[in-house]
Assembly symmetry: C2
Homo-oligomer: 419 residues x 2
Amino acid sequence: MSPGSGLPRVVVVGAGFGGLAVARGLAKAPVDVLVLDRENYHAFLPLLYQVATSGLSAQDITYPVRSILSRIPNARFRMVEIAGGHLGERYVETKVGERIPYDVLVVAAGSTTEFFGNASVERYAFCMHHLQEALELRNHALAALERADASKGPERQALLGFVVVGGGPTGVELAGMLAEMRRHVVPRDFPDLADGMRVILLEGRDRLLAGLPPSLSQRALAQIRELGVEVRLNTFVDQVSPEGVQLQGAGWIQARTVVWATGVRGAPLGEELGLTTDRSGRIVVESTLEVERHPEVYVIGDLARVRGLEALPQVAPVAIQQGQRVAGNLERRIRGEPPLPFTYRDRGTMATIGRNRAVAHVFGREIAGRRAWWVWLLVHLIFLVGFRNRSVVFLNWTYHYLTYDLGLRAIVGPRRRQG
Amino acid sequence: MSPGSGLPRVVVVGAGFGGLAVARGLAKAPVDVLVLDRENYHAFLPLLYQVATSGLSAQDITYPVRSILSRIPNARFRMVEIAGGHLGERYVETKVGERIPYDVLVVAAGSTTEFFGNASVERYAFCMHHLQEALELRNHALAALERADASKGPERQALLGFVVVGGGPTGVELAGMLAEMRRHVVPRDFPDLADGMRVILLEGRDRLLAGLPPSLSQRALAQIRELGVEVRLNTFVDQVSPEGVQLQGAGWIQARTVVWATGVRGAPLGEELGLTTDRSGRIVVESTLEVERHPEVYVIGDLARVRGLEALPQVAPVAIQQGQRVAGNLERRIRGEPPLPFTYRDRGTMATIGRNRAVAHVFGREIAGRRAWWVWLLVHLIFLVGFRNRSVVFLNWTYHYLTYDLGLRAIVGPRRRQG
């Protein structure tokens, strides 16, 4: 019971797509919902790569959690970082030791970067999981161009090398944006550097975008090569250093900017709560999304591994549908009905590659090129939370489309080591 | 002579309003212009207080210097920090020891915060001179509200205290925005905190906005008090601590957020170049804006103190007009004509206080209230550099005006101590 209202208290850890879907789904249920997140904003992470390449600002893809929840009368928010808890005594614990009790717990803490134990990657590569990381990457890349403009010879060459590791959607989208920057922004802002910038995309498998049908992988490969990205398939990273990437087998690529856009690991909360996790840190749950022997604890989104299903993609639609399922099952429980198993309704997958270039697999149809790009644009605008963000993003994109410019190139905010 | 073209090389230190006015003014002159700045962007600092209060994002008030200069064929840019030089040998020196030679030097390095030797202010108060500082203040203020929501008693009271020191335009605008936040955002996002937040504005003189006629100071005082700001005139700060402000004489104000919006000091470059400065660090120049005995060195903007004139306000119009004067005098010199003295054409002063509240003194007329606010809005939109920024800012303001919301409340980027 929640102290204030006497209603059961549902604590949701994480204000991402999954956590917010739970809060929305429970808007009319006789429960109190408390959403916890270590940040005060919800981030639209599918567009993170645009922040990393100065197409959008951090504020364009974020929205205050409190503003979202203010429309849900039975939901409240607290900005705290959860670092453990006790399932038997039904509380979660913040990093500073405060205990927050629950009647029902929904763990929607998302994912983080998987380095596969490679310390050199963890130390020297840029990641693409959090907003802060995207800003670090953006500021680093812009500063590298500035320094390249004042350098010569091998120093300049190293500063102009940009390696993206991972040929999934994030890697492809990021490499595509860097290539657009190379074609349209660099010649204008840094005329001396026009020919020197290299964008290299490394993928371990034999094709890009392995989640899509092979024919679309082919189309994507052709489109991204047209943009001038050097794609290397069947290629694995051995070590990353401040100077570049050592490949497995042989091969060395000189580059001061290396982005690790591969490898997803469940947030550490699973282990901190003492729950059973798979080898990528995801918490194993029943088909109803409940934790075994703890039917009052649900796990959804990137952090959930549903027993008996193959591993689902760690994308927003899965998290949202799981959040809706949990809200539905909670309402069923209140009505005394048995829970329903989660089934994923895959509406499609898409990836943008650059201006007028994208691939999409939607409702069983494969489309590529300009048409796929417009579909991508529309879908992302529709799903972007909040009126203001939607119109600002639309304005930025219109501006970018008409002028070939990426306007947000001020080096503001987080900076990491000068590589 | 500049190595490449054989034309005289004009080095401009600082890409603020003054420095850019010089580059623009010399667009058709037979010279090479090299603009230097430690940041890669021009910041529209008159709107900095909006960034500090989540009305605008950092990117909304910045614009890449390279984009601005790309329209000026004889101007180039380098991102470097200048930390000295030698007037006799005609070079400036970067922080890392690189020497950049010039034929003509324009020092437009702006100003920084004057702490009047009070170490407690320097250590604990937030400043409003640089973009980074505005972001620190914003993130601190938003985090203070989050923490207040989870606190009780004196702890909550301290977190809800916001003190602004200085009743000039920056202090008034900042206090006004904080009061708007208290009225419109806090009740929605933090219903429990609705009555607790205090905004206190301290001013040492007997009126606000001393640069305006006394009748407008009265109007401003009435308007800002209507908004709920506690104004204390004839009040001086003795010490700032993490817990609040000790006033001179007597009095203590509990507040975890203290903003130092008073005191302007010339950037240290004047002293680093060994030039004569006044007691606020401004470089003393002749009426032609030349340095005595160094007619090839000009100083403009916040950093210039024109001999024989009373100290001019450190605002954008002065810097722009001085930049235009320097460009004109350089062209005159090339034509063999004597330089003209600088005269300031004061078109007016204004300050916004809040929604529909402002005061303006333009072309000798005094206006206040809604009309002054619209004038302020129009003037600032017109002068904001760049199409994208103008439309994004307009959109943000329209949204804010219609919804009473301040949309950019994601805590992203620079954070300082947890106060």
